[in-house]
């Protein structure tokens, strides 16, 4: 018996990815978590254990901001789950309809906003919704609904929902594309077999296609979750780091940015900022775990 040869090609081929990923992802992640355990007192960095987290969760000033940001973030996520993903699925179902004309055109048009920069989207929508120069008030005026117009981005009660819908507009193309791909991979024979049994039209969608694309919907949900809890850019680009009005659009990302880098006269506090980043990491990790172990393992898969 030969002793097993060391298969050198495996570590060699893995090395570049492992090294780069470690240097730019794993190391910074753990270093940030480590940073959260320190505090700066009189120009000295002092190890303070979990004191930063204690401040974040139990100090009334910090915890109020934290829970406000978390609550806003949940709402932001909920709007995406309830609006973006159903619309994405519906669009994909329409696009995959064999008799639809210009499908490629619609597909590109809906997908294009996804590749735009947040800054462009934030700025464009701010202009569209501007009470002074925007086309939204005049368009509403043209159909006699001017009274429905409000300076949405400036009102505490509407600003966050407005921004969430802007984000939905921008990203609806992603669930659409993923579901579209999943729908295309469903073999004709299955649908034809269904037709023979009298399942056509909408019934075919609900009874045959939807169960087959459920795993894709699961993936989309988790991508939405991770994306939303890491969101920052759109809010920062349109409302600034103070996430106005009166912190009504403050989400974890903007809260972390403001704390970490400072803002205006507020000096940056990398240690508290890291604590918030740590909390964000834990929330996302928890969400992903719930999905992976609670949902994905129980999902029924069909061999096509």
């Amino acid at each position: 018996m030969n002793k097993p040869r060391i298969r050198w090609h495996i570590p060699v081929f893995l090395a570049p990815a492992v090294l780069i990923y470690t240097a730019v992802m794993i190391f910074p992640l753990f270093n940030t978590l480590r940073l959260a355990l320190y505090s700066r007192i009189d120009q000295e960095r002092v190890f303070t254990g979990l004191a930063n987290f204690q401040t974040l969760f139990f100090d009334p000033i910090w915890s109020e901001q934290f829970w406000n940001a978390l609550g806003n973030n949940l709402w932001f996520f909920l709007v995406h789950m309830l609006v973006q993903n159903p619309i994405g699925i519906a669009l994909a179902a329409l696009l995959s309809h064999p008799r639809l004309r210009f499908a490629a055109l619609y597909r590109s048009a809906i997908f294009i906003p996804t590749i735009l920069s947040f800054v462009v989207v934030g700025f464009a929508w701010k202009l569209i919704l501007s009470p002074i120069w925007g086309i939204a008030p005049s368009m509403l005026d043209a159909v006699g609904l001017k009274s429905l117009f409000a300076p949405w981005l400036g009102k505490e009660e509407y600003a966050l929902t407005t921004l969430a819908l802007i984000s939905v507009w921008q990203f609806v193309g992603i669930p659409m594309m993923l579901i579209y791909a999943a729908l295309l991979s469903i073999p004709e024979e299955i649908l034809e077999a269904g037709e023979v049994d009298g399942i056509t039209g909408l019934a075919a969608f609900w009874k045959i296609k939807l169960p087959l694309i459920l795993p894709s919907i699961g993936i989309i949900s988790i991508l939405t979750f991770v994306g939303n809890f890491n969101a920052f850019d759109l809010i920062y680009a349109s409302q600034g780091a103070l996430a106005g009005p009166d912190f009504s659009t403050d989400i974890l990302g903007t809260f972390m940015y403001r704390t970490f880098f400072g803002f205006q006269l507020q000096l940056g506090d990398p240690h508290m900022g890291s604590a918030i980043a740590g909390a964000m990491f834990a929330i996302i990790l928890l969400g992903v775990c719930v999905y992976l172990f609670g949902i994905q393992t129980r999902m029924r898969r069909y061999q096509l």
Binding site: I61, P151, L153, K155, P245, D246, F263, Q264, L265, D269
Partner: protein, 417 residues
Amino acid sequence: MIRKSLAIALTTTALTATAAWAEDVTLTIESWRNDDLSLWQEKIIPAFEAKHPGIRVKFTPSAPAEYNAVLNSKLDAGSAGDLITCRPFDASLALFEAGHLTDLDDMEAMGNFSDVAKSAWQTDDGSASFCVPMASVIHGFIYNADAFAELGIEVPETEADFFAALEKIRADGSYIPMAMGTNDQWEAATMGYNNIGPNYWKGEEGRRALIAGEQKLTDEAWTAPYATLAKWGNYLGDGYEAQTYPDSQNLFTLGRAAIYPAGSWEISGFNALADFKMGAFKPPVQNAGDTCYISDHTDIGIGMNAATANPDAARTFLAWVGSPEFATIFGNALPGFFPLSKEPVALEDPLAKEFVSWRGECESTIRSTYQILSRGTPNLENETWGASVAAIKGTAAPEELGSKLQDGLASWYAPQQ
């Protein structure tokens, strides 16, 4: 004494000059004023280099929002320029305490500035000054003089006049009475609260009493400006809640609004854009004849990187920045940024002249939240933004706002506990 230091100065210049035959010394300036790049390259630097052969100066600004972060990382890495443009108060104080800025108290040029001017770049006890004051900005109101003439409105002196004028403009309907929005929040605090406020808390007197813990933000003097701001909401035009800072600037320069709560930094931009006659008036006082107070806010200074390789050349440059020659070039090239030197500077721009003339009539102060009081969490300046917006929108009563700010300040600031 003077003779001696002059001699030293001459020797130093002579020395650097001799060295210069071999190789020019190049000084690099870090700054956030990228708007002023051409001014530095075309006017300020040539004027300096003409007088000081052998020293070359490079102005290398970065974007305002990134400046603090960029500068900090450059200083930590040892790659920052020789001269550092200083933000007022804590941002620069932190640099000094970390050993990045040099103490400049021994420089003769520092004698050209008043204590208020230097206060933005001193340690709390005033024992060390680490930046040469360059410029301040003054708050007030800019108005559309053509619109005022058309509607027959006099420039308001008192608060009653001010609101009567606003009411008249609104009744007429051809202009938005006042161009300001609350979307970006800072205007409400900077051009609202800290613009009209000094008349209520009596400028430096109230500001220092607040720092000393003798007055509280719940006092009448500190909540009354919120009550006045609450009346502004009626005159700000439709949808002001979502109106941004550039929106307000455009509304005013397009001639659609009559009054613009301003900082003097707007002057050069407005001069370029507005095709109507503009004037300025200072924050109205309660009763005719009251002492007026203006916010004459120290905004830009310049200091020396402690790690510079050319300390002598850097000091030569700083001494020149402290001289009347620099003040004249700077003040006229950037109307609205007023030199802080004791010696008055002759300005040419009429609007800038109007602003700077208030220094003679009124007591100067700086923004109430900038010195010491915004060091902790919650940050008083940021909280004031929110409070001023809430006051204008009418979502909270002035007393409520005062007690919220006071609670926040008292939570970390010992003299207020």
